[in-house]
C-alpha cells in the first residue's frame, strides 16, 4: 500500500508541466473529486472560466442567477452530500454577493470553498474597476481565507482550502486569485492533497480521564438528558450516537441543525429544543440531573435565559471545537474531540440502562403538548389550513424519506417541528444565521448533493421573493426540486412577534406576493395554488409525482402562531403552550 502510494507520488512529481494558474485550479478541483461547481462569471475570473470550458465534462458548472444563490446552493450540496461545496464568483460585486452565504456557512459549520477572481496584483489598492478588499471583508466570516497573487501558490493554496474547509469543525474558506496569477504560466509539478498544517489542530486530543469522568456522571445519573446538534452529522457519527443513547437509555433532543441525525420515530427521540421546540425537552432541561450536550453549541435560541438554564444539572459537553466548551454554558466535564471517536469510548464505559420513569416524563409532556398545541395544528377547526397539517400530509406521502429544505420564519419552525425523517443529512435549514432566501438555492444544491432523493423546499411567501430568481437555474439545468410555498400573506414570524410583544402593531409585515404560479410558469416550472383542505393531499401528491421541478402554493391561515414558544429573555422552563 505504502510503496504504491510512493510510486504514484513520484510519477506525478517527475512530470512537470507548464500550465496556467487557471488550469491549475481545474487540476486541483478534479484531484479533490469535485464534480459540481456553482458560480457566476465576470471580468476578474474570466481566465478560470476559460479553463473550465475545456473541462465541462468532468466539472459540471451550474450557472446561478445571483452569487448568493451559488453559495447557498453549495451549502445545500454540502449538507446532503457530506462533501465540500464549491463556488466561483468574480471580484467586487460578485464576491460581495457571497457575504451572506459565507456568514451562514461559518455559523452553521458548512464546508464550502469559494474561489473569487481579483483584479491584477499590481492594481491592488488602487480602487481599480471591481476591486474590493474581499479578504478583509470576509475575514470574520470565513474559517480561513487567502489571496493568491502568483500562480505557483495555487496548488498549495487550494489543497489547504479543501483540507481546512472539511476537517475538524468544517467551515467556509475563500481563495481570492488575482487575474495575473490566473493567466500566469508556471511549472506545475502535480497536485498534492493537504493532510496537515503545522499550526492547525482540526481535532483536539481525546483525554481519557474526561471520558471516564463523564461515564461516571452518566452512570450515577437518575435523569440524564442528551442534547445533540449537527456535530453528529458532520462527524458522521450517527451510528455511534445511536449506540450510545441506546445503551445508556437516555432520552435525546435535537437542535434544528441536529435534526435527522436520529430517526424521528426512534423511541429515545424526544423532540426539538429551543424557542419553538417541544414542551418536554425544554421544561425537562431544567429538571434533568446530567445534561449531555453532543456536537451542539448552546445557541441562545436553544438555551433561552442563560442564568436560568439547567442550573441544577451537571453538564457534559462533547465538542470538536475547544472554543465552544464553556463559551455559553460551563461544562462540569469537557469532552474535547471528534464525537466519532469519543462516543464509542464513552459507550464502552456506560452501564446499560433504561430510564423508564424519566422517559415517561417526556411522554407526559408530549401528551400535554399534543392536547394543547399539536392536535389543533394538525386538525384545525376552521377552514383555513395550518402549516402543520400541510407538513403532516407531506410526511404521509413521502414516508419521511425526503430531504426537507426550509427557508426562515414560521414555516421553518413548523417544518422542523413536524417533518419526519428516517435518515441523516435530510434536513437543510439556515439555523445560526436565519437567512431568508436560503431555501430555494439551498434546495437546488441539496438536489445535486443527493440526486436520487426527493427534495422538498418549504418556503414562506416572504423568503421566496428574496431568491426566486433561482427558478432560472432550475429552468436551465432541470434540478427537480419541489417548491412548497406556505403563503400566509405576511412576514409571519415577525408578525407573530408583533402580535405577542408589540400589541399587534403590524409594522410593515403585510407583504404582497405576485402570482407565484404564473411566475413559475414563466420559468417553465409547472405549478398550482390551493386554498382548500380538500385539495391538499392530491395537490401534494401531484407535486411529488411530477417528474421535474414543481411549485405548489398552499394558502394557509394568515394569523396563525407557532407554539410552543420560549419568549425571548425567559428560561426554557417558562415555555408557553399558547
Amino acid at each position: 500500500m505504502e510503496t504504491l502510494e510512493l510510486i504514484k507520488e513520484e510519477t506525478t512529481a517527475s512530470k512537470v508541466e507548464n500550465i496556467s494558474g487557471s488550469e491549475a485550479v481545474m487540476r486541483a478541483l478534479i484531484a479533490e473529486g469535485v464534480e459540481t461547481i456553482f458560480g457566476y462569471p465576470g471580468g476578474a475570473i474570466m481566465p478560470i472560466y476559460d479553463a473550465l470550458f475545456d473541462h465541462d465534462e468532468t466539472l459540471k458548472h451550474i450557472l446561478v442567477r445571483h452569487e448568493q444563490g451559488a453559495i447557498h446552493a453549495a451549502q445545500g450540496f454540502a449538507r446532503t452530500s457530506g462533501k465540500t461545496g464549491v463556488v466561483f464568483a468574480t471580484s467586487g460585486p460578485g464576491a460581495t454577493n457571497l457575504v451572506t452565504g459565507l456568514a451562514d456557512a461559518q455559523i452553521d459549520s458548512t464546508p464550502v470553498v469559494c474561489i473569487t477572481g481579483q483584479v491584477f496584483a499590481h492594481l491592488l489598492g488602487t480602487d481599480a474597476f471591481q476591486e474590493t478588499d474581499v479578504i478583509n471583508i470576509t475575514t470574520p466570516i470565513t474559517k480561513w481565507n487567502y489571496q493568491v497573487t502568483d500562480a505557483n501558490e495555487i496548488p498549495s493554496a487550494l489543497a489547504k482550502a479543501f483540507y481546512i474547509a472539511s476537517s475538524g469543525r468544517p467551515g467556509p474558506v475563500l481563495i481570492d486569485i488575482t487575474k495575473n496569477a490566473q493567466v500566469q504560466k508556471f511549472d506545475f509539478a502535480g497536485y498534492k492533497k493537504c493532510d496537515h498544517i503545522r499550526s492547525y489542530r482540526p481535532k483536539p486530543i481525546v483525554r481519557k480521564e474526561y471520558i471516564e469522568e463523564a461515564a461516571k456522571l452518566i452512570n450515577e445519573a437518575k435523569k440524564p438528558f442528551v442534547l445533540f446538534g449537527q456535530g453528529i452529522i458532520l462527524g458522521q457519527a450517527e451510528n455511534e450516537f445511536k449506540a450510545f443513547i441506546e445503551k445508556a437509555g437516555i432520552p435525546s433532543a435535537w437542535t434544528i441543525l441536529g435534526l435527522s441525525a436520529l430517526p424521528t420515530d426512534h423511541p429515545l427521540n424526544v423532540g426539538m429544543l429551543g424557542m419553538h421546540g417541544n414542551y418536554g425537552p425544554n421544561v425537562l432541561t431544567n429538571e434533568c440531573d446530567v445534561l449531555i450536550a453532543i456536537g451542539m453549541r448552546f445557541d441562545d435560541r436553544v438555551t433561552g435565559r442563560l442564568d436560568k438554564y439547567a442550573k441544577q444539572a451537571k453538564i457534559i459537553h462533547l465538542d470538536i471545537d475547544p472554543a465552544e466548551i464553556d463559551k455559553n454554558v460551563k461544562a462540569t466535564v469537557p469532552v474535547w474531540g471528534d464525537c466519532k471517536e469519543t462516543l464509542p469510548l464513552l459507550t464502552e464505559l456506560v452501564d446499560r440502562k433504561e430510564h423508564k420513569e424519566w422517559l415517561q416524563k417526556f411522554r407526559e409532556h408530549t401528551k400535554q403538548e399534543e392536547e394543547i398545541v399539536i392536535e389543533k395544528e394538525m386538525h384545525p377547526s376552521g377552514e383555513e389550513m395550518s402549516m402543520a397539517e400541510v407538513v403532516d400530509v407531506l410526511n404521509e406521502l413521502t414516508g419521511g424519506n425526503a430531504v426537507i429544505v426550509t427557508d426562515v420564519g414560521q414555516h421553518q419552525m413548523v417544518g422542523c417541528r413536524y417533518a419526519k425523517f428516517n435518515q441523516s443529512k435530510s434536513n437543510v435549514t439556515s439555523g445560526g444565521l436565519g437567512t431568508m432566501g436560503f431555501g430555494l438555492p439551498a434546495a437546488i444544491g441539496a438536489k445535486y448533493g443527493a440526486p436520487e432523493r426527493e427534495v422538498v423546499a418549504i418556503i414562506g411567501d416572504g423568503g421566496f421573493q428574496m431568491t426566486l430568481q433561482e427558478m432560472g437555474t432550475i429552468m436551465q439545468y432541470g434540478a427537480a426540486v419541489k417548491i412548497l410555498i406556505l403563503n400566509n400573506n405576511f412576514l409571519g414570524m415577525v408578525r407573530q412577534w408583533q402580535e405577542l410583544f408589540n400589541a399587534k402593531r403590524y409594522s410593515f409585515v403585510d407583504i404582497q406576493s405576485p402570482d407565484f404560479v404564473t411566475i413559475a410558469k414563466g420559468y417553465g416550472i409547472e405549478g398550482k395554488s390551493i386554498n382548500s383542505r380538500k385539495d391538499l393531499k392530491a395537490a401534494l401528491q401531484q407535486m411529488l409525482d411530477h417528474k421535474g421541478s414543481y411549485l405548489l402554493e398552499v394558502m394557509v391561515g394568515k394569523e396563525n402562531n407557532v407554539f410552543p414558544m420560549v419568549p425571548q429573555g425567559c428560561s426554557v422552563a417558562e415555555i408557553r403552550l399558547k
Binding site: 499590481h122 497573487t149 495575473n180 503545522r198 492547525y200 475547544p322
Partner: protein, 195 residues
C-alpha cells in the same frame, strides 16, 4: 473582576493574521490597550503581545477563539505577576531647558533616561519601564516644556516559558514553515500590461 492581562500569541508569519486576531477583540467591543508584533527566537514564528483589561473568564474565551485560527500556534494569557514586561518611551525636550535647569538633568538621571539625540534646539531621551514609571516621567517633564512624547506597546516575557520554548524549537525543526508570499507586483505598475 477586570484586571490587566497580557496575551501572548505565537503565530505563523501570515499577511492578514493581524486583522484576524484584532477582530476577535473588536467584534466583542473590547479595547486593545496595547499590541506589539515581534519575531521570536524561532525564525519563522511570530508573536503578538496584546494587553487588555478584562475578567479572566473573558480572556480565557478570547484565547480559545484566537487559538482556533488556522495560523495560530498557541495563545497564552498571563497576569502581570507572571510576566516580565517593559514599555519604552521617547521624550523630546528643549535643549536649553536641560542646559539651564539642573533639576531637569537630575530628574532624567534619576529615572535612568538615556540620551538618544542632542540637537541645538531639542534633545531626545529614552526610558523603558513599567507604564507608571513612564507616565510619572511625562508628568514631571510636562512642566519643563516637553515637546513631544511617544510610548511603545508592551513587550513581555512569560516567566515560566521554558517548556514552550523547547517545544517550539522542536516543532520548527520537524515541520519547517512555508514561505511568506508578498505581492511583488505592486511597485511594477508601469511595467505591467493589463487588460
Amino acid at each position: 473582576m477586570k484586571q490587566e492581562f497580557t496575551i501572548t500569541v505565537y503565530t505563523e508569519n501570515q499577511i492578514g493574521l493581524l486583522n484576524r486576531i484584532a477582530i476577535i477583540f473588536t467584534r466583542r467591543k473590547i479595547n486593545i490597550d496595547s499590541l506589539n508584533t515581534s519575531p521570536t527566537e524561532v525564525d519563522t514564528v511570530h508573536r503578538f503581545t496584546i494587553v487588555i483589561n478584562e475578567t479572566e473568564d473573558v480572556v480565557r474565551k478570547l484565547c480559545r477563539q484566537i487559538e482556533k485560527q488556522v495560523e495560530v500556534l498557541k495563545a497564552y494569557y498571563n497576569t502581570n505577576d507572571e510576566i516580565i514586561w517593559q514599555e519604552m518611551a521617547l521624550y523630546k525636550v528643549p535643549t536649553d531647558v536641560i542646559a539651564e535647569k539642573a533639576k531637569v538633568e537630575r530628574l532624567l538621571r534619576e529615572r535612568g533616561a538615556r540620551v538618544v539625540a542632542i540637537r541645538q534646539d531639542y534633545t531626545v531621551f529614552e526610558t523603558s519601564g513599567h507604564r507608571e514609571e513612564i507616565e510619572g516621567l511625562i508628568k514631571a517633564l510636562e512642566q519643563y516644556s516637553l515637546i513631544e512624547f511617544v510610548r511603545t506597546a508592551r513587550i513581555a516575557i512569560i516567566k515560566d516559558s521554558k517548556g514552550f520554548h523547547a517545544k517550539l524549537k522542536e516543532f520548527e525543526s520537524e515541520q519547517p514553515a512555508e514561505e511568506l508570499v508578498e505581492n511583488e507586483f505592486l511597485n511594477q505598475q508601469d511595467k505591467v500590461f493589463s487588460m
